[in-house]
């Protein structure tokens, strides 16, 4: 740990700076510029008035937990703090919580410096910055899913597995009451228990059942209401486009309008040189938009990309994003080489895979540029940071030092670019 101390101090200092930037952005971003900001706002208004949102409205299909929390924050904060800022501060808090859970999980398995650097890169990645300083239920859902996933990495003795799984199920229930994305996490978490308890099959089945049944039972009334309103359309749980005429009109009008298989393999140069959806070729490119919305503000909701300096800074950040992407890919190779050593990650990696598949399918069903956003994968923050740590851990001591330093520099660059008003 002694050799790790300078890295820990540096990572801690940068994390502090990132936190200040996050709070600054939550106050500075113009009101309701957030993804689906007005739709989320109407849900918060409904909960504040003591009723559930109308499920046929733009964001009315979302479960109510985030908005209920928002109503409490609205009631508690002084009127000098605008309501939308209070709602964003929930996302800020969820982001901090998620980064801390990731760090706590990784430091049990990796060198403290690698765990800290990997968690910091997650905390400073533009996709994470945008989602955790905007109002919306994405960040809270990701935090709750991450808390559940983290539990599957240390399940403990089989005789206490049912109790452990019940607590994990409670986290997942809260996540499912926040956003339907959490549905995707149920199977992977059950798998985590199944793999960890494979020598005691009965206990494995019981624990796996608990993490699936408990959240479904708690969230059933919400989803039953949606199914009733939508006439049984399952997509109504995931998109306002299924039941809200306004959202439907907007989604249908967005380019590209139809999907081709080529959209899933084409990566235009704008991915790095002008990482915004309006740049040539980007609106069609699924990998391009995914990459650009991970390492830049691809959907132009946060940073003023019309400003050439901002666009140049985003381009620099997108190119620099190749470094953590490359190290994470080395991490994938490391996991594939030694799968048994990384069995503790099975639920996390299964979730990352399931989320990616769900996103690709969603982008096919709803062929609109806004359906391809890396923030939909935010709940995969733990596996992403873990792969980064595996990639770092597999290098020689000299290379590790160089890469840690480069990643800290990347985090600083990301803070500077995403700090609203800094580049301009």
């Amino acid at each position: 740990v002694t050799g790790d101390r300078p890295w820990l101090v540096a990572a801690g200092a940068i994390a502090g700076l990132a936190l200040v930037g996050r709070i600054h952005d939550a106050f500075t971003l113009p009101p309701l510029q957030d993804f689906d900001g007005a739709g989320h706002a109407l849900n918060a208004v409904a909960l504040h008035a003591g009723r559930l949102p109308d499920p046929t409205t733009w964001a009315g299909f979302h479960p109510p937990l985030y908005y209920a929390l928002g109503a409490v924050v609205w009631a508690l904060l002084p009127e000098s703090v605008p309501v939308h800022v209070g709602l964003r501060l929930i996302s800020v808090a969820a982001g901090i919580g998620m980064a801390l859970v990731v760090w706590r999980t990784l430091r049990r398995r990796f060198a403290p410096a690698d765990a800290a650097v990997a968690s910091l890169v997650l905390f400073c990645a533009p996709v994470f910055v945008l989602s955790t300083s905007m109002l919306g239920n994405e960040a809270l859902c990701a935090f709750l899913v991450t808390a559940a996933l983290a539990r599957t990495t240390a399940i403990g003795p089989p005789e206490r597995a049912a109790r452990h799984a019940s607590a994990t199920g409670a986290w997942l229930a809260a996540a499912l009451l926040t956003k339907a994305t959490a549905l995707v996490a149920l199977g992977p978490c059950a798998l985590g228990y199944g793999v960890a308890l494979r020598r005691t099959p009965r206990r494995a089945v019981l624990a796996a059942s608990l993490v699936v049944v408990l959240p479904l039972a708690v969230a059933a009334p919400h989803f039953a209401r949606l199914l009733r309103v939508s006439g049984g359309d399952v997509l109504a749980a995931f998109s306002g486009g299924a039941v809200s005429p306004a959202a439907q009109k907007e989604m249908r009008s967005q380019p590209p309008g139809e999907r081709h298989l080529a959209d899933y393999v084409t990566i235009p140069s704008a991915t790095f040189l002008a990482p915004v959806y309006a740049a040539p070729g980007m609106v069609r490119s699924v990998p391009g938009l995914l990459y650009a919305s991970t390492w830049a503000d691809a959907h132009e909701r946060f940073l003023p990309a019309w400003n050439p300096r901002v666009l140049a800074a985003e381009s620099l950040l997108a190119m620099a994003g190749l470094l953590p992407t490359g190290i994470a890919l080395l991490g994938v190779i490391g996991v594939l080489r030694r799968p048994r050593a990384h069995a503790w990650l099975v639920a996390s990696l299964a979730l990352a895979g399931a989320l990616l598949v769900a996103l690709l399918r969603y982008s096919w069903i709803l062929p609109a540029y806004s359906s391809v956003k890396a923030s939909y994968l935010l709940s995969a923050g733990l596996p992403a940071a873990a792969l980064l740590a595996v990639g770092l851990g597999g290098r020689s001591a000299a290379w590790r030092g160089v890469l840690r330093g480069a990643l800290l520099a990347f985090a600083l660059l990301a803070i500077g670019v995403t700090w609203i008003g800094f580049v301009t």
């Binding site: 009101p31 409490v72 605008p82």
Partner: protein, 193 residues
């Protein structure tokens, strides 16, 4: 400690501000426009949100508008569009307040409460004067209603008097409506759709 925290939270939730008088509601509302739109939204009646006529523009509509703007008079006229649904109006009213320039325009303005009339316990009229730089001004009259004498006042209608062409931007940001937006677009010489 947990009980104490819970008790404080419940107390804070229970002890909100007492119901505000009509003039304070209007003053707060004008402060909140563009700065705190969600709170401003909670100060108006549902029927208020079906009168302003604002609507969301879809992505292709924005691009078509930009095209018409670049072509000027030679551009084909915008196609007819159906009136907005109540949901579209609510979303648009909230979203417009985060648009670039909205807060800047509001920051130039000051206002004064000129008169308050309360014919009965359930209705009130608040007259304000919106003042622009260099001495220009116009009158903005708020009609407020409430369901019972103990219920909070809500803004139900807004009327603007004496708005000239030079005051259109100020009139729009203090009471965003489709009619004022179209007048403003015509004044600026840009397509009104």
């Amino acid at each position: 400690v947990r009980r104490l925290v819970l008790g404080v939270v419940v107390l804070l939730l229970a002890c909100g501000r007492p119901p505000l008088d009509p003039a304070t509601v209007v003053d707060d509302y004008l402060h909140e426009l563009g700065r705190d739109p969600i709170r401003a939204f909670s100060r108006v009646t549902p029927s208020f949100q079906t009168r302003h006529g604002l609507r969301l523009a879809t992505d292709p509509e924005v691009r078509a508008w930009q095209h018409r703007r670049s072509r000027g008079a030679s551009a084909a006229p915008a196609p007819e569009r159906p009136p907005p649904t109540p949901e579209e109006e609510r979303l648009a009213w909230l979203a417009v307040q985060g648009k670039p320039g909205y807060q800047t325009e509001l920051a130039r303005l000051t206002w004064q409460i000129m008169d308050v009339e309360q014919p009965d316990d359930l209705r009130a009229l608040v007259k304000t004067r919106i003042e622009l730089p260099r001495g220009r001004s116009f009158e903005q009259i708020f009609q407020l209603v409430r369901a019972s004498p103990r219920a909070p006042w809500r803004i139900d209608q807004v009327e603007q008097v004496g708005v000239g062409e030079d005051e259109l931007a100020a009139a729009f940001v203090t009471n965003p409506t489709e009619a004022t937006r179209e007048r403003l677009a015509a004044h600026l010489g840009v397509p009104a759709d």
